[in-house]
Amino acid sequence: MDLENQRRVKDFAEQYGGENVVVLLGAAEGEAAGLAAETVTNGDPTYAGPLTGVPLGLKVYHVCESGVRAEFDRSIYDEQVGMMEMVLDVEDIEKEMTSIREQYCKY
């Protein structure tokens, strides 16, 4: 994850408390989604950014996952994401995300 984005995530978690923050991702495939999710839960696995060794354990979802999708306004989701969802391998993304959440999510 981009270093500046890591810094922002870290600051927001401190400012609002980890339990109040949810990270939403739009990654193009499962592995990238998993890496970003790992960064905001267990710390930066590439040891490059401000989240290196910082296990924030934040709640993190990919925008196409069924869990969060159900909470969006259906028509807005269809308009903004609907067609991209057809292109993405949502099953793979969901699998990666679930695995990361089960291992590292604290909230």
């Binding site: 994850m1 981009d2 500046e4 984005n5 922002r8 995530v9 927001f12 609002y16 109040n20 923050v21 949810v22 990270v23 939403l24 991702l25 739009g26 990654a27 193009a28 495939e29 990238a32 970003a36 905001v40 934040l58 709640k59 979802y61 925008v63 196409c64 869990g67 969060v68 909470e71 969006f72 306004d73 807005i76 989701y77 308009e79 903004q80 994401v81 991209m84 993405l88």
Partner: protein
Amino acid sequence: MSILKGKKAVIIGDRDGVPGPAIEACAKSAGAEVVFSSTECFV
């Protein structure tokens, strides 16, 4: 229990997946407060 309602949403979109502003629109519709939205680019 809802995941997003009343929460602070931090959005990390992807240029070749779903970009930040598109996620932002969805998150707002679920009652989250969007505190940060950006889009990453791998290419």
